[in-house]
Symmetry: C2
Subunit: 210 residues, 2 copies
Amino acid sequence: MEEKEISQAVISRLPRYFRYLGDLKDEGIERISSQELSDIMKVTASQIRQDFNNFGGFGQQGYGYNVVYLYEEIGKILGLDKEHNLIIIGAGHLGQALVNYMNFERRGFIFRGIFDSNPAICGMKIREIEVQPMEKMETFVKENNIDIAVLTIPKSGAVAVAEQLVSYGIKAIWNFAHVDLNVPKEIQVENVHLSDSLMKLSYNLASHDN
Amino acid sequence: MEEKEISQAVISRLPRYFRYLGDLKDEGIERISSQELSDIMKVTASQIRQDFNNFGGFGQQGYGYNVVYLYEEIGKILGLDKEHNLIIIGAGHLGQALVNYMNFERRGFIFRGIFDSNPAICGMKIREIEVQPMEKMETFVKENNIDIAVLTIPKSGAVAVAEQLVSYGIKAIWNFAHVDLNVPKEIQVENVHLSDSLMKLSYNLASHDN
């Protein structure tokens, strides 16, 4: 966008606002006050107003926010008004799950290519998309204006593949490999470390057990 | 464990320490100073010492931490010295991906049962575990000492299923459904909202694009 840097904590909360506003919109609710939003989202109204003030406040008047307007504005801030071209590297169970999850496409995240290092999998189709060998990746990324790469490969290969992808011009990596990638600062990385999440659950379970 | 409440921010960092220490252990490295750990993990040495001080400090002497000891102690704090019995609700692509991911089992998270509301899927086997109908869930949870339920079902059914699970005695929920669950405070919930993560990536991409 523009101007000042918004904190990652605020940004982490935006998708949740977007989700609740989408539900309200689907229910046909036209206006909502920060207090009502606070009640259903279980965050304070002042937190909500503070978060929204980072983006100009979305003009709440005495009678609340316009739900559709707020939904669309937050969508734009999240970059959901543009289409993104994705490739996925790793056509295992998790890769297949992601490609098959229709909600991403509905939000403008379109899987264009699937790559795997296992020759036995290449040629297989997932939702009409043929799994290609890794050697085809460079040309594909360059010819298809791919901006996001999804990594669902084991940690052993992930760091090297990420470096390759960056050299091909990828701008963002959604990383499911259980390793920290080593890419330049201007490349956006979002990690989903499933084991870390499960361990955190296990910690909270253990620490509340007695 | 015991005594004071540790902040969730510290807890979120523990699995990452555990991962790096596991790698160091596998490489045969016996000792490491907080400064060396800081260099490879790209966090400050003082952050590391502060985090570890929450758990008594793990006794770094002049010559650093004992890698195996530190790895095992953090593992215990994370509750990885105990076995957990899991069920998963939702045998779609994501559910299958999680059941097939061997690393969870290696850490003591054992999938005991799989449930799905789709009769066409029931009877199918994933890694020798037969998919059962939802009606079998209550008895199964009670008879098999299940402590963690994994939710990989659409958001429409997730809130109700979570409430059922709690009434059956489940203590923790690993929630992949794209909705906030409404369960008592003593039930541990860890959310993996994949769409939120992708939107955050999209935001960072959009905000660094110009």
